[in-house]
C-alpha cells in the first residue's frame, strides 16, 4: 500500500453561533490506512464527531472548515459534487451513533440497502437482491429474506446498528467512519458490534475510524489512538504505547482517574474542574487549568505536537513518566 487512505491535515472547524465563534476543532491531523483501526477518543464537546462530519463535508452552512482532507491524495474539500457523491457511501461509508435517526423509518431495510447498491454498483436487480441477503448474513442478521422486508422499528437496537453497518458496507467501502457506533447499546451488544467491525476489517481489509469516549473500547479494538480535548489533538500513537506511557498530561490524568486502577473502595484520582466551554478562547494548552503538571507557560503558550509515531502536545511529557 502506498500512503494512507485518508490523510487529514490541520483540520479546523468553527461555527457561527449567536453569541460568537465556536472553535469546535482546532488544527486536527490524523491518517488512517487500509486494514487499520484508528480510535478517536475524547469527551463530549471535544470535537471528535464534528471532525468526521467535516471530513465528509456533512456540516451545515454555519460551519467554516479549513485545512486539508486527502482521500488517497485527492483533496475532499475541492471535490466536485458528483465526485463527492461517489465517494460518500461508495469508498467511504459512515455509521452513526443512533441508528434509529440515521435509518429511514418509512423504508424497509432491504430498500435502504438497495439504494446504496443502485448508486454505487452496476448490479442488476437480482444480483442486488442476492447481495442484500448476503450483507445481512455478513453482519449476523438471521432470516435475511424476512428481515429485508421489515422496517427499522421492527428491529431491536442492536439489530438496527447491524442493519446500519450492512448498509454502510454494501458498496464495499475502503474506509468506514464509525461515530460512537455502540454508545447507545448494552455492553453485550456493544461487544458483538465491535467484534463484527473487527471481523469486517480483517476479512475485507477495510480501514476503520472509531470515534468513542470509552477508553476500554479503544484498548480492545484499535491499533492507534488519537486523543482529543477541547477541539485539539493532545496525543496520538499506538494504543499499547499510549496506554502504557501517556505523553500528554490529559491522557495521563484520564487513565489515572478510571476505576480499577487503584485499590478497591479507595478514592479515585479525579481530574478537578470541568472541560472548557466550546466558545471560550484558550491561548495556551486547553487542559492547563485542570492539569496537575501545569507550569506558567502552559496557560500562555500553546504546546506544539511533537514526536513520531507517538506524538503529544504537552510541555510536561518528561515529568509524567516519574
Amino acid at each position: 500500500m502506498s500512503g494512507p487512505l485518508l490523510d487529514v491535515r490541520g483540520l479546523t472547524v468553527t461555527f457561527n453561533a449567536r453569541h460568537g465563534l465556536v472553535h469546535a476543532v482546532d488544527g486536527l491531523s490524523f491518517a488512517v490506512g487500509a486494514g487499520e483501526v484508528l480510535g478517536i477518543v475524547g469527551e463530549s464537546g471535544s470535537g471528535k464527531s464534528v471532525s468526521l462530519r467535516a471530513v465528509m463535508r456533512l456540516l451545515g452552512a454555519n460551519a467554516q472548515v479549513s485545512g486539508q482532507a486527502l482521500w488517497q491524495g485527492e483533496d475532499i474539500f475541492a471535490m466536485s459534487p458528483e465526485r463527492l457523491r461517489a465517494l460518500r457511501g461508495g469508498q467511504v461509508a459512515m455509521v452513526f451513533q443512533e441508528p434509529m435517526s440515521a435509518l429511514n423509518p418509512v423504508l424497509p431495510i432491504g430498500q435502504q440497502i438497495d439504494e446504496v447498491l443502485v448508486a454505487h454498483t452496476a448490479m442488476d436487480p437480482a444480483a442486488r437482491r442476492k447481495r442484500a441477503e448476503e450483507l445481512l448474513g455478513l453482519v449476523g442478521i438471521a432470516a435475511a429474506r424476512t428481515r429485508l422486508a421489515q422496517f427499522p422499528h421492527e428491529f431491536s437496537g442492536g439489530m438496527r446498528q447491524r442493519a446500519m453497518i450492512a448498509i454502510s458496507i454494501a458498496a464495499s467501502p475502503k474506509l468506514l467512519l464509525a461515530d460512537e457506533p455502540t454508545t447507545a447499546l448494552d455492553v453485550t451488544i456493544q461487544d458483538q458490534i465491535l467484534k463484527l467491525l473487527l471481523r469486517l476489517v480483517g476479512d475485507l481489509g477495510m480501514g476503520l475510524v472509531l470515534v468513542t469516549h470509552d477508553l476500554g473500547v479503544v484498548a480492545q479494538t484499535c491499533d492507534r489512538v488519537a486523543v482529543m480535548y477541547a477541539g485539539r489533538l493532545c496525543e496520538a500513537g499506538g494504543v499499547a504505547d499510549v496506554f502504557a506511557h501517556p505523553h500528554h498530561a490529559y491522557t495521563h490524568a484520564l487513565l489515572g482517574s478510571m476505576p480499577g486502577t487503584g485499590a478497591a473502595r479507595q478514592p479515585l484520582t479525579p481530574i478537578p474542574g470541568q472541560p472548557p466551554k466550546v466558545d471560550a478562547f484558550v491561548a495556551g494548552c486547553a487542559f492547563a487549568p485542570r492539569c496537575a503538571f501545569a507550569e506558567a507557560r502552559c496557560s500562555t503558550e500553546r504546546p506544539p505536537l511533537l514526536g513520531s509515531p507517538h506524538a503529544a502536545a504537552c510541555f510536561a511529557t518528561a515529568r509524567l513518566a516519574v
Binding site: V187, T188, R199, G202, L215, P259, R265
Partner: protein, 322 residues
C-alpha cells in the same frame, strides 16, 4: 453486618395498552414483568451494586425501594418493619430514611427554583429542622457536597453536570437518610468528571455511615465501589455475591458473559469472538425455564423447562449447572 433493608419476593408488572388488534384477537393487554420474585438484603453501611443490561429491571427495583412504584407482590422491610400496612405517618418516616439520587441531574432539578430554595423546601416540608435553622442547614449541605455557599442563590442551569449531581445528592442528604439509592448517578457525566462524584459518594458514606445501593451498567465502577453485587437478568436476580470473588470467578453463565463483554482498559490481544450471542429477549414474552437459556452456551434441555432456583454455590446463584 445486619440487614437494614430486606426485600422479599418483590414483583412488579406493567400493563401496556390493549391494542385494537389485541381486542380483535381476544388477547389480553401486554404485560411486562419488570420484577419477578426478587429477594435481597441490604446490609447496614455496605455498598451494594445492582448490575444488568437495560430492561433487566434494575431501575424498577430502585423505584420500588423508594416507593416511586408500588410493588404488586412481596415485602420491603426497613429495620425489620414491613412497609405494607404502614399508616401514612410511618410511611413518610420510611421514605425519609431511604432517598434516591437520579441519573439525569438536568431533568431531576426544578429549573425555576434556586438551589437554596430546592434544599429549603425539602427541609421545611418534612420539618427536618426548625424554620429558623433552615438557612444554616442549607449551608451545611452545600459544604457536605463541596459546593460553594453562594451556590444557594443560583439556578440549576448555572451549574455543570457534575455540580448538578452534587445538588441532587445534597437534596437526598437533606432528609438525613440511612440509605441512598443511586440510579446511574455518573453515567450522564463527562468521563473526566465521573471520578469526582464517585469520590464524593465514598467520602459521604464514611462520614455519615450511609448505606449505598449503586445501580449502574458500568461494571468497572461496580467492581471498584461495591462490597456486594447483584446481577439481574430479565427481572430476576441471577447471582448475588461478594464483589471481589464474584468478579474473579463468576458462577452464572450470564455473569460470565457480561464480565467478558466489558472492554478492559489494558490493551490486549484482540479477538473477534463475541462474549455472548443473541440479545435480551422481550420482557413481554420471556423464555420459559431459565430466561437466559436461549443465549447460554451451557444450556441443556432441562434449562428450557425448569426455572433454576437460587442456590448457594459459594453465594446465591440461579443456575442448574453453576
Amino acid at each position: 453486618m445486619t440487614a437494614l433493608l430486606e426485600v422479599e419476593g418483590l414483583s412488579k408488572r406493567f400493563t401496556g395498552r390493549r391494542s385494537f388488534a389485541d381486542m380483535l384477537a381476544r388477547r389480553p393487554a401486554p404485560v411486562v414483568r419488570a420484577l419477578e420474585d426478587v429477594s435481597l438484603d441490604i446490609r447496614r453501611g455496605e455498598t451494594l451494586g445492582i448490575v444488568g443490561e437495560s430492561g433487566c429491571g434494575k431501575s424498577t427495583l430502585a423505584r420500588c425501594l423508594v416507593h416511586l412504584h408500588n410493588a404488586d407482590a412481596g415485602t420491603i422491610r426497613l429495620d425489620g418493619l414491613p412497609m405494607e400496612g404502614m399508616d401514612s405517618a410511618a410511611r413518610e418516616k420510611f421514605s425519609r430514611r431511604v432517598q434516591m439520587v437520579f441519573q439525569d441531574p438536568y431533568g431531576s432539578l426544578n429549573p425555576r427554583m434556586t438551589v437554596g430554595q430546592t434544599l429549603a423546601e425539602v427541609l421545611a416540608v418534612h420539618r427536618i429542622v426548625p424554620p429558623a435553622q433552615i438557612a444554616a442547614r442549607v449551608d451545611e449541605l452545600l459544604d457536605l457536597v463541596h459546593l460553594p455557599r453562594d451556590a444557594a442563590a443560583r439556578y440549576p442551569y448555572e451549574f455543570s453536570g457534575g455540580q448538578r449531581q452534587r445538588i441532587g445528592i445534597a437534596r437526598a442528604l437533606a432528609m438525613q437518610p440511612d440509605v441512598i439509592i443511586a440510579d446511574e448517578p455518573v453515567s450522564a457525566l463527562d468521563v473526566s468528571v465521573q471520578a469526582q462524584v464517585v469520590n464524593l459518594f465514598l467520602e459521604l458514606q464514611s462520614r455519615l455511615g450511609l448505606t449505598l445501593v449503586f445501580i449502574t451498567h458500568d461494571l468497572r465502577l461496580v467492581r471498584h465501589l461495591t462490597h456486594r453485587v447483584a446481577v439481574m437478568y430479565l427481572g430476576r436476580i441471577v447471582e448475588l455475591g461478594p464483589t471481589e470473588q464474584l468478579f474473579d470467578a463468576p458462577r452464572h453463565p450470564y455473569t460470565q458473559a457480561l464480565l467478558r463483554a466489558v472492554p478492559q482498559l489494558t490493551p490486549g490481544r484482540r479477538s473477534d469472538e463475541a462474549a455472548v450471542m443473541g440479545e435480551l429477549p422481550s420482557p413481554l414474552n420471556p423464555p420459559t425455564g431459565c430466561a437466559f437459556h436461549p443465549r447460554c452456551p451451557l444450556a441443556q434441555a432441562r434449562c428450557s423447562v425448569e426455572r433454576p432456583e437460587m442456590r448457594e454455590v459459594g453465594w446465591p446463584v440461579a443456575c442448574h449447572f453453576a
